[in-house]
């Protein structure tokens, strides 16, 4: 059985590659779907509340970028929905009744998100300022709850629960246990925080580049500070969450954990490997911290850590080096981002102004790339680490894959299309920003001009907002 599964698993390679690339692409856009609305709403809030023209300009422009990203995200999300069936009919045919439930809940939130995105993006011109602001709030809520539902489906594949299987057929389902399986709280919290970090650091990174190029006006400072603050709050929480999750995985999916940490045999005093390539049972180029893995898992060097020798070879994940290095990359980048946030926070605490030296801004500009890389690495760990199972210890990937012959073709098409989509979702905002600078350079530099005397603002549709009020909250990090 094991050997047969192994051979068949080769057949699943194109399907796995297609699913992996689709998911890896969509998840970046999903992050923006979850968190970008929050970033934009904060800017708009500052703009309306304080009559801050720069903040409003930022919010308007961000919402346009959001329009592009949400459109591409809706499309790549549809691709994933199709692929659940096109690539894994075995999974859906047998377990659709269970795993389908969280997806159906997600449908509601996707709906709400799409509706209010429509209102928010196209309501700028003709809705009153606060009505417009409130039309964005459901996007934030639906983003988080939608993420919760979809990630719950993925968690279920890691911790299947809430169903009875008889003769290969599901005979009863407990939807609540399916939704709130053992992995759900950990995975969803991890993902939502990751979404805020990715969005925050990517957007902040764009304005860090602007600041580095000498555009140090309020527009760029705010453009950096708002998303960076949000991501900076998420970063320490994420580090804590990551630590908790690692311990959970050590108990819940010990073989995955063994692959993450290079634990070949079950042992006490397990060493923590940093880096390193596994070849023929030996770790090369890695640094081992004695007993530290045991300490991380159970706060004592005597903690027993389960190795991958606990299961037959056919049930161990492939590509152990990839899993381990991805894990290290994720942890390393997460700590790097945490350090960046702490640095800015420290400066802000003592100086009450934004730290804008090149020493800080250069790594901050790279923070977006780092956040995306960390998140992708995390998904590699959880998905490759679950192999060869599609539903952990219940169904093999090879039993779920489609018998249709066309997968290599669709894989090629998907890769080509996603190359185009990548160009679109990076290129379009870049074209937009260049055009904005050409069209109205003055507006960005108009430092600290509140709503201003321009007759433009005197219409009934957008009445002059209350002029700058004294600090009402700590929401705005940059008040010269």
């Amino acid at each position: 059985m094991g050997a047969v599964a192994h051979v068949l698993a080769v057949d699943a390679v194109p399907a796995r590659s297609q699913m992996g690339s689709s998911l890896g692409f969509h998840i970046i856009l999903a992050c923006f779907g979850i968190a970008f609305a929050a970033v934009t709403l904060i800017a708009e809030w500052i703009g309306i509340r304080r009559g801050d023209a720069a903040a409003l300009l930022l919010a308007r422009r961000w919402s346009k970028v959001m329009a592009v990203l949400v459109a591409v995200g809706a499309v790549s999300g549809t691709v994933l929905s199709y692929e659940m069936g096109l690539l894994w009919p075995g999974l859906m045919g047998r377990f659709g009744a269970a795993i389908g439930f969280p997806f159906s809940v997600e449908g509601i939130f996707f709906f709400l998100e799409a509706i209010f995105v429509g209102v928010y993006l196209y309501g700028w011109r003709r809705l009153s300022p606060w009505a417009h602001w409130w039309s964005g709030v459901p996007i934030v809520v639906a983003g988080v709850l939608g993420a919760l539902s979809v990630v719950a489906a993925n968690s279920w594949m890691n911790s299947p629960a809430g169903y009875t299987l008889r003769h290969g057929k599901i005979t009863s389902v407990d939807p609540v246990s399916v939704f709130f399986n053992a992995s759900t709280p950990y995975e969803t919290a991890h993902m939502v925080l990751a979404a805020y970090m990715v969005t925050g650091f990517v957007v902040a990174g764009v304005y860090a580049v602007g600041l580095l190029r000498g555009r140090r006006d309020r527009y760029h400072r705010l453009g950096f500070a708002v998303p960076f603050t949000l991501a900076g709050i998420a970063a320490p929480l994420q580090v804590m969450m990551g630590d908790i999750i690692a311990r959970f995985i050590a108990h819940n999916q010990p073989v995955k954990f063994a692959a993450m940490e290079y634990v070949s045999t079950t042992t006490r005093n397990a060493a923590e490997w940093v880096g390193g390539i596994l070849l023929n049972g030996h770790v090369y180029f890695g640094a081992a911290i004695p007993a530290f893995d045991s300490i991380l898992v159970g706060f004592s060097p005597h903690t027993r850590v389960i190795g991958w020798d606990s299961v037959p070879a056919a049930q161990r994940p492939p590509l152990v080096t990839l899993i381990h290095l991805s894990f290290d990359l994720m942890v390393g980048l997460g700590l790097f981002l945490f350090a960046l946030a702490a640095w800015q926070g420290w400066w802000w605490w003592f100086h009450r102004r934004l730290l804008v030296t090149a020493w800080f801004l250069v790594p901050a500009a790279l923070g977006g790339v780092a956040a995306v890389a960390a998140m992708e690495a995390g998904w590699v760990v959880t998905e490759v680490g679950r192999q060869p199972w599609i539903v952990y210890r219940v169904m093999l990937v090879s039993d779920a894959v489609t018998p249709s012959r066309g997968v290599p073709v669709t894989l090629g098409v998907i890769l080509a299309l996603y190359a185009i989509l990548t160009v679109v979702s990076i290129g379009v905002p870049m074209i937009m920003s260049r055009r904005w600078r050409q069209e109205s350079p003055a507006e960005e530099e108009a430092d600290q001009v509140p709503y201003g005397p321009s007759p433009a603002r005197a219409s009934p549709a957008r009445p002059p907002v209350r002029p700058a009020v004294p600090r009402a909250s700590s929401g705005g990090p940059d008040t010269p």
Partner: protein
Amino acid sequence: MSPSSEAIAVAVILFVVIAAYALFGGADFGGGIWDLLAGSTGRGEAPRALIDESITPVWEANHVWLIFILVLLWTAFPPAFAAIMTALFVPLSLSLLGIVLRGVGFAFRHTAQQLRLRQFTGAVFAAASLITPFFMGTVVGAVVTGQVPVHPAGNVLAAWTSPTAILTGFLFVVACAYVSAVFLVLEARQRRHQDLVRYFSLRAAAAGVVTGVLAGGTFAELSVSSPYVFGRLTGIALPLVAISIAAGVAVLGMLWLRWYHAVGLRVMAAIAVATVVWGWGLAQYPYLFPTSLPLAAGSAPTASLVALFVVAALAVLLVAPGFALLYYLQQRRLLTAADTDTDLRLAAQWEQALPGQPTAARAPAETRMATALVLAMLAIRAIKNVFSPTHRP
């Protein structure tokens, strides 16, 4: 074994969702088709602008119906979902390709500044609007004719290349164009583009006639390829089919009379689409795949179905007000794309004065009204005659 009442309830929800997607999603696809057919850049500018303005804010929300169809299908009827996805891998992949390209076109066409690029992305958007409904139609055709095996060993080419399936594909395309044109007539009218009202009225009428002809063709083909479904379509589902035809004729009549009643026309078009979808559902009952996979054997355990029911109720509670708001704002023309910053600044200057309501074009000639009534009665009688039990094979 007869299907449980939960399975029937979820199947009903599924067909309500399919009807919604056919109507709203279909109209958006149809918009793309008219965009494709609008001619050269100069000539097609006005209709293209109207199509763009009426689709852009709502297409994403309309698209979600499709996700709901997939989710309902795989949660409530997993074996049917798995079989369809395996056997019809090719047309489903192609319809997905259309969806992706359409999204790319949407995302890019508003940013592209050079005419050449704009034309290209516009063409991608339009062409994609053609492929997607066509291949979705072939999928439905394959299911209706019972050509999808319950345990397929791979793609089944013959299932979706049968004459019925291909005809259904074309039928979907023209039906989308028809619904879309009807909606666009009203959009044009709301914006007081008299030329475009004429323009889309003519196209709605033409598409309506072609839809009717193709529907007839598909119907005739069904009598051979799927006797079970045909039998029920001319039996228990006949009232639905008749209502659909009557509503379709009524829409044509209203257009001909230039009686552009905003609600009436929309409702008639909606009835025409929804009843034909429900007729299909009723005709398949109690099978998921006519005569090979019964509903009872293909549905999920009761708890899953009940959960879906709850989700659907929640969706109605949460989503319906949202949708109402979206369409309300869109109809009041409070949702507009602001393309540039100049535009955004103009927004601030926007005078409240939505130009006052015009004096509606009143009183269509009475003779035309009378003729329309007579024709409608004749049409209904003809339908009755064709489908009356004595004529059934």
